[in-house]
Amino acid sequence: MNTLWTLLQDPNMQWILISCTLLGLSSGIIGCFSYLRKQSLMGDTLAHAALPGICIAFMLTGTKSILYFLIGAGIAGVAATFGIGWITRHSRVKHDAAMGIVLSSFFGLGIVLLTIVQHGGYGNQAGLDKFLFGQAASMVGSDVLTLSIVSLLLVSVCYLLFKQFKLVSFDPGFAKGLGYPVAILEQLLMFLMVVAVVVGIQAVGVILVASLIITPAVSSRYWTDRLGVMVVVSGIFGALSGATGAIVSSTGASLPTGPLTVLAATLLFVVSLLIGTKRGLLVRRLAQQRMKRRLGYGFEEQAATASVDDRINKEAAL
């Protein structure tokens, strides 16, 4: 514990810890909406599509700045979504397959560009390959500032437009009927996801960043039936995962932060799946047993199941 305390006093460590926590928080919040809009895999596509965007941004500007990377990744993400849309519209290829094609081809292009950057005459290219798995340890004060601004922006937009995002996620047709600019709101949600992905890449890397968008959101659903609560819980889960990743990586035998963060998020998911208060396996099992007892089938399980089946069959027959 003492070593942990000493570690936390190191300003370098503080930056990393804050960055990872903010990152987890932002991805957790925006992830809820993409999960509920059945666009979880879109995060993965956007992340993989971001790689060539980041490489091109670096080739054009020669600097490693989050802002340029954001622009590059954003453009690449838009190109990828258009690509998916184009394929599904003009062929009989289904959405998931189109996503697979676009995701892998963008990623392939990204790897090629990455190799060119590393072997070409670009100065200051060191660390660009870290985008594959992320490198939280390289975070510095200016990164923390950028991340804080980005997270604040993301959280405030989600807070202010909560009712719009909620309605667009639940019933876009009705939202449109009310006169909501549904297409713009959907684009905004997509943009926020691109932002979360791009800043997340810094710490977790292109390959794993999608898990920060998906896993906290899925986990939080096990604890609540209210969207507002779900968003908050998901943000906390994301933040916890980020912080855990940062701390464990600094104490352990130089283990990478990104993969540790993802593992922490997965652990939270397993816990939620088992003991989540709304839909956890334990709660469901208990509810089932309570129901059985109420129907008077508590003791002879086999007989109970049989007679329940009988009942169901009879009801079906009616």
Binding site: L36, L161, F162, K163, F170, G173, F174, G177, R226, M230
Partner: protein, 270 residues
């Protein structure tokens, strides 16, 4: 009630003629270049229950969605109380098909009904005590007050349909579009829905309903709109809901209907 409605009523009195709640002219729509709705024109009378009848793929839902601007129109004009729909949104309520949303969404019945008030809130406005009270009232009207806090996936199909109706009531509109509200509900819910529709009618509201059960058309609706890509006929139920026009609407697929529900019609006429 919204000021726009009051205004339109005022102008009716001034001019002495009647402004229809809904005037649709030349409405056309297409999916993937295949026309599913062609040149539909009609004018509805205020305070009526109107049934939209036609075979599968006739464009009934499409007509509603095109009129509401939910899907792009190829052409045509839609006037609500004499003005373009975009200016009159608050006067229009909509009940989509129940299957159009994911009922596993993390929300409860009361919350869904409060969504009906969102159109009355500003950009950053949040629903408060007033919206909550209105939503509770609307839930009570559809007999769902006891289920306000229930997670929506734990409601039966009929209860979900009632929640959607309560949400439309919360919109406090004058003209309602309902896309198959009777689909897959039990007899009790069907009764509750039709009672509610009649109440709306008594309040002078106009309700347009996509309907499938030909056996109940005469009982439920004042006017009928027969649709099969093009408008086949529109008018009072007794004039339009005839074997000849239905035959025309459904083509050869009407064989069994002749023996069933239409027998009634002919008997009455005979």
């Amino acid at each position: 009630m919204s000021s726009a409605k009051v205004q339109s009523e005022a102008s009716v009195m001034e001019r002495g003629d009647v402004v229809s709640p809904l005037t649709v002219s030349g409405l056309s729509a297409a999916y993937q270049k295949k026309p599913v709705l062609r040149g539909v024109t009609f004018t509805v009378t205020e305070g009526e229950l109107i049934g939209v009848i036609g075979p599968n793929g006739a464009g009934k839902s499409t007509m509603m969605k095109a009129a509401l601007g939910l899907i792009p129109r190829l052409g045509g004009e839609v006037l609500v109380y004499g003005k373009p729909y975009k200016q009159q949104r608050k006067l229009v309520g909509y009940v989509p098909q129940r299957e159009s949303v994911d009922w596993d969404f993390p929300t409860n019945a009361l919350d869904v009904v409060m969504m009906g008030r969102y159109g009355h809130l500003g950009l950053f406005g949040r629903p408060g005590a007033k919206e909550r009270a209105i939503a509770m009232e609307c839930l009570a009207k559809v007999g769902m007050a006891d289920f306000a806090a229930r997670q929506i996936s734990q409601l039966s199909g009929g209860q979900q349909q009632r929640v959607f109706l309560a949400r439309a009531l919360a919109q406090d509109a004058s003209l309602y579009f309902m896309d198959e509200p009777f689909a897959g509900v039990d007899a009790a819910t069907e009764k509750a829905i039709i009672t509610l529709l009649q109440e709306l009618k008594q309040q002078g509201k106009t309700v347009i309903v996509v309907h499938h059960d030909l056996a109940t058309v005469e009982e439920y609706f004042d006017s009928v709109l027969l649709l099969n890509v093009e408008l086949v006929a529109y008018g009072p139920t007794k004039d339009v809901f005839t074997q000849e026009l239905l035959q025309h609407t459904y083509g050869g697929r009407l064989a069994f209907l002749e023996r069933n529900s239409l027998a009634k019609t002919d008997n009455k006429k005979g």
